[in-house]
């Protein structure tokens, strides 16, 4: 991770709130993203991710609260020039070519040198498709072009909402590598995605939003610490098994997961647990050690299951 500007905040929101009529899409969100971080923004559909990103991108007005980018108000024209945005679907003119769309954005930004247009098309692998009309593009190609538009002008901060949606595995890898490269260059990236496996490969920090409220912000190291190993068994009577485990192994923290299996955290002797259950005539179908990943952690937080924090 780049150490450049490690203490400076690229994004800071205070009590950020967005109400649609009386319903809060985002409530009192306090984001703190340092320069150089790749921030994974996680939440269910409708949790408020896109609304938050829209407010950061200047596309929606907050009902309350404050947004500061690089220490300056979000409305500051100089700050906006340091921002690249891809929110929801890439906004593209279908009857224009990929290159023409990028030239349009370049003109909108006041860029006179068209070499940057070719550069972003090359970076996103669209050089050969530059003369092709966007209406003939696949969804993945449109998404790449959206990323190209966001990269135009070499922004310091990128807001990417579901940038790998619709991409094939190769495209996902390319975008991941591109984000990694941008991160190495010291850029700050706020990225939301439902593909948590991919997100966990690139993010240095995470924020989890639920029902419009930020429920947790943590670093990759903190997440790894919380995503501890666990021993899982699949049994016929999970309730009775849980009671027996809790009675026999008081040092083990156990719970019944949504799928009906029993999970045990902490130092667990798997063989002893299996033996105890068999002796108590509880059939064990499967057992083994697992490592909780970001997806499981996220789902756990969403369901309000075992508390890690």
């Amino acid at each position: 991770m780049s150490t450049q500007g490690v203490d400076k905040l690229a994004i800071e929101t205070r009590a950020l709130t967005k109400l649609y009529k009386d319903k809060a899409a985002v409530r009192n969100v306090a984001l703190r993203i340092r320069e150089g971080e790749v921030y994974g923004f996680i939440g269910r559909n409708g949790a408020g991710k896109s609304t938050t990103l829209k407010m950061l991108g200047g596309l929606a007005y907050p009902t309350q609260g404050e947004i500061r980018l690089f220490g300056r108000p979000v409305s500051d024209a100089a700050v906006r020039r340091r921002l690249g945005v891809l929110i929801e679907a890439a906004g593209l003119y279908p009857h224009m070519t990929a290159r023409q769309n990028v030239v349009m954005k370049a003109r909108c930004m006041g860029l006179t040198d068209e070499s940057s247009v070719d550069a972003v098309l090359e970076v996103t692998g669209l050089t050969d498709a530059g003369r092709k009309k966007v209406k003939h593009f696949s969804m993945g190609m449109k998404q790449r072009l959206g990323v190209a538009l966001a990269l135009l002008g070499n922004p310091d901060l990128l807001l990417l909402d579901e940038p790998i949606n619709g991409l094939d595995p190769e495209g996902i890898r390319e975008i991941r590598q591109l984000i990694g490269k941008l991160h190495e260059e010291g850029k700050t990236i706020l990225i939301s995605s439902h593909i948590l496996g991919e997100l966990s490969k690139i993010a240095t920090n995470y924020g989890i939003i639920k029902d419009g409220e930020m429920i947790e912000q943590l670093t990759r190291e903190e997440l790894e610490e919380k995503c501890q190993d666990y021993f899982q068994i699949e049994v016929r009577d999970a309730g009775r098994a849980l009671a027996l485990i809790e009675g026999t192994f008081p040092g083990v923290q156990a719970e019944v997961s949504d799928s009906g299996s029993v999970r045990m955290f902490g130092a667990v002797d798997g063989a002893a647990v299996n033996q105890m259950l068999v002796e108590n005539r509880i059939a064990v179908y499967a057992s083994g050690f697992h490592h909780m990943d970001l997806e499981e952690y996220f789902l756990d937080r969403m369901e309000g299951g075992r508390q890690y924090v």
Partner: protein
């Protein structure tokens, strides 16, 4: 704002709708001139009688249709008096503005330009430039048609043409800002098209005119965009004739302000 203007002009040059709408204007002009040639000239009447388009009696009456009309008067009858120009130009403006919202490209623009007035200013200026090109090009095309069809009407003086086209440019630009306002408000191609047809073609104003005329207030609508286009002066006679500039400028400012306010209040 000038960055956005550069961007808009780049798109205008590459949009098919610009050329298709202008082609429609030219096509209508050719049709009207052709029709007049068939009705007004001896050779045309001979053909019309032969194909049964008119009777000999109608041919005798038709010969005087263009009496007292010069090239400018004929141009405005073809183009602006009946609302055809505003209808076609309004549809182009609607397609141009709504494309930003339909395609989602507006997100790229607004992420860069927090000042929403830049967007409105750019759109008003772009439509004003296109309006000028349309009016000038259409007028020159009408003169060319007059020449090709054997000078059906005498040519108007250039001072009259300059006066007429200059104020019409203002008033039709005001109409464009009305369509911009409706497109920004509704963000819908359907609503924009309906507005272009109903407001550009005149049904709304004429219906209102008839209703208000029952209360002796119909004169008020003579200062509407539609009726100013239809009834505005063709040549400068007195200072009073300059009211058309005030109408054009007033509505241009009013609708541009409304569009800006709506855009500032709504999220993208």
């Amino acid at each position: 704002m000038f960055n956005l203007l550069r961007m808009d002009l780049y798109r205008v040059k590459r949009s098919k709708s610009l050329y298709i709408c202008f082609l429609l204007l030219m096509l209508a002009t050719v049709l009207v001139y052709g029709m007049m040639w068939l009705l007004e000239t001896p050779k045309g009447q001979e053909i019309s009688l032969r194909i049964g388009m008119i009777t000999p009696q109608e041919a005798a009456e038709a010969g005087s249709i263009l009496d007292g009309i010069d090239s400018l008067g004929f141009f405005r009858q073809i183009s602006l008096d009946g609302g055809m120009y505003n209808l076609i130009f309004g549809i182009w403006v609607m397609l141009f503005v709504c494309a930003d919202f339909q395609s989602g490209f507006i997100k790229n623009i607004m992420a860069m330009h927090q000042n929403r007035w830049n967007y409105i200013g750019s759109k008003v200026m772009t439509t004003w430039i296109v309006d000028g090109c349309y009016l000038g090009g259409h007028f020159l095309f009408a003169l060319l048609m007059n020449r090709l069809f054997g000078n059906l009407v005498p040519y108007a003086g250039w001072e009259d043409a300059a006066f007429y086209l200059s104020w019409v440019w203002f008033v039709t630009a005001a109409f464009a800002s009305l369509i911009i306002f409706i497109c920004v408000l509704t963000r819908s191609v359907a609503a924009g098209s309906l507005a272009a047809v109903l407001l550009g073609g005149g049904p709304v104003v004429m219906t209102l005119y008839k209703i208000m005329d029952m209360f002796h207030m119909g004169d008020w609508l003579e200062y509407s965009i539609y009726l100013t286009c239809a009834m505005g002066p063709q040549r400068y006679v007195s200072v009073k004739d300059l009211y058309v500039y005030a109408v054009g400028f007033g509505f241009l400012i009013l609708y541009s302000m409304l569009a800006g306010i709506v855009l500032k209040k709504k999220d993208i």
